[in-house]
């Protein structure tokens, strides 16, 4: 299955996301100063480092087991709501029935949907509330739409990254309704949400990580 995703591809996607967060973590902390306490970049950096470690050589061969461990490790970042939600996202992915050795775009969408479903048990935040959901929900919807339209994994990931970016950029015009920023209300307008921005960066990283993965295997 040429277009499928293996555990190793997933590891590359995670590495891509980590590289993307690593390159932008100072910007994320800066964004967080507007309505938070300026540590979002640091928290995300610690979270992606743990994600990478969960997929490093020596970690479980099984994608499901890897995701469960990754989720637990991210929960252990001790970085407040961001790491609790991100950890829930990854451990929730492991509940997807399709979570096997080699998966296609539709299975990948199902994995991300399972992660989102787990998050929704913990937060009532929806798109429009100026949180990471503003990037995550449209990204997963775009992934599902692409998969249903028969697009390849990389096309689906590109669509998802595009939707995440648009969702994150749109948070600039929103008023926060969740978390610490909620209490700032209208004052949050004009600032892009750091959580949505980091989600968008993660999807960009998933995309570039997967491209690299397939690029290399193509050369081999």
């Amino acid at each position: 299955m040429k277009d499928g995703i293996t555990r190793d591809d997933f590891a590359r996607m995670i590495a891509g996301a980590a590289a993307s967060i690593r390159a932008q973590h100072a910007m994320l902390s800066q964004l967080d100063c507007a309505a938070g306490d300026g540590d979002h970049g640091t928290t995300m950096l610690r979270a992606v480092e743990r994600l990478e470690k969960s997929f490093a050589p020596g970690s479980p061969e099984d994608l499901k087991a890897c995701l469960r461990e990754a989720g637990w490790n991210v929960l252990g970042v001790d970085g407040g709501a961001s790491s609790s939600l991100l950890g829930t996202f990854f451990s929730g992915m492991a509940d997807a029935p399709a979570c096997g050795a080699s998966i296609g775009a539709s299975d990948l969408a199902a994995i991300f949907e399972a992660g989102l479903a787990a998050m929704r048990k913990q937060t009532k935040a929806e798109p429009g509330d100026k949180t990471m959901m503003d990037a995550l929900v449209p990204a997963i919807q775009a992934l599902r739409a692409a998969a249903d339209a028969g697009k390849s994994v990389i096309e689906a990931l590109r669509d998802a990254a595009g939707a995440a970016r648009a969702g994150a950029e749109a948070t600039r015009n929103l008023t926060a309704r969740y978390g610490r920023a909620k209490l700032l209300g209208e004052k949050t307008r004009g600032h892009q949400d750091p959580g949505a921005t980091s989600m968008s960066l993660m999807f960009e990283g998933f995309c570039s990580g997967f491209e690299e993965s397939k690029g290399e295997s193509g050369n081999a």
Binding site: G76, G80, R180
Partner: protein, 331 residues
């Protein structure tokens, strides 16, 4: 302005502060498991364990209140950020002495998320744990979900901790914690921001001549910014808002806590308390217990929290019970 703090590497702040705290109070506390702050001498079997969680950078909150008669274990997170569920679950397992565990959580988004995930996992493991949420900051408005947990954690730890120490059941301890919680109100006032010790960035902006009433623990925007007022004027505004919200009537008995945010001096706190005392006396409200000091801080933030709580005979008895917690010794 560059940050001037005595730290080493930013990523080592939390482990180093916990190490220093434990070393400075070896008779009362110790570190156990994954850097959990626990009592030096564990509680006797058959008594309820009391656990809390919260971000660091607010010392002596919250770990300063671990000790006989108060908390069994405190789970400290990163700077201003809640610890995740794995360490909270570990703490609950360790604090289960056979009579269940009371998990006291301050209402802040990250803390509640971690606590809810922890509660799910604990229940899956068959642990007997109940959660008490503190949310007494009236700046959040009328919806209790929007009210954050501020210095009111102190009386809740104290009375629930005393009830647990005296052999109360988990349901009794929960009822005491919730009764205390229902009867307390807090407002925070800020006059100067703090820098985040890891990033060196100010956590909010406030004009040189401004103060903000209804500031939360970290500079979450509150109810009102205004020109700086005198101690008496400020105490009057804040106390009136609290008395109105709690619907305090003449003759009722109150506990009052004035908590310094970090850079406000005890001198100022006493001047504020003096005015609170005068107003209560004039209104015929009995001030039965009081505390003035630093119980939860936010670095060099300047400002204070004023908390009032309606007390009954049982709550007073539990408030007066002994504690050897490093930052709340009662003999």
């Amino acid at each position: 302005m560059p940050m001037k703090k005595f730290i080493n590497r930013p990523e080592n702040i939390v482990p180093e502060l916990l190490e220093g705290f434990a070393l400075s109070h070896p008779k009362q506390i110790r570190l156990t498991g994954s850097n959990l702050v626990a009592r030096a001498t564990p509680k006797a079997k058959g008594k309820v364990g009391v656990v809390t969680l919260g971000g660091s950078g607010h010392e002596p909150g919250l770990s300063g209140f671990v000790g006989e008669g108060m908390l069994d274990i405190s789970v400290a997170g990163e700077i201003f950020a809640a610890p995740g569920a794995p360490r909270c679950l570990e703490a609950i397992r360790l604090a289960d002495y056979g009579a269940g565990v009371l998990f006291i959580v301050l209402n802040h988004a990250g803390d509640v998320l971690s606590a809810n995930i922890t509660m799910e996992m604990a229940k899956r493991e068959g642990l007997n744990v109940k959660m008490a949420l503190t949310h007494e900051d009236i700046a959040g408005g009328s919806n209790p979900e929007d009210r954050r947990g501020l210095v009111g954690f102190l009386p809740v730890y104290k009375v629930a901790g005393a009830a647990a120490e005296q052999g109360g059941s988990l349901d009794t301890c929960l009822e005491i914690a919730e009764r205390m919680g229902r009867n307390m109100r807090t407002l925070a006032v800020a006059v100067q921001t703090a820098t985040h010790p890891s990033t060196g960035q100010p956590i909010f902006e406030l004009g040189d001549d401004e103060m903000e009433i209804g500031m939360g623990q970290h500079g979450e925007a509150g109810t009102g910014r205004m020109k700086l007022k005198t101690a008496d004027e400020t105490a009057e505004i804040v106390l009136e808002m609290l008395l109105k919200d709690l619907e305090v009537k003449p003759g009722e008995e109150l506990l009052v806590i004035v908590n310094g945010a970090g850079a406000t001096t005890l001198m100022e706190l006493f001047i504020l308390f003096r005015r609170v005392h005068q107003i209560l006396k004039a209104k015929g409200i009995k001030l039965v217990r009081s505390q003035v000091g630093e119980f939860i801080t936010t670095q060099e933030q300047a400002g204070f929290q004023l908390m009032i709580a309606r007390m009954d005979a049982e709550l007073i008895r539990l408030w007066d019970a002994p504690s050897n917690a490093p930052y709340f010794v009662v003999r």
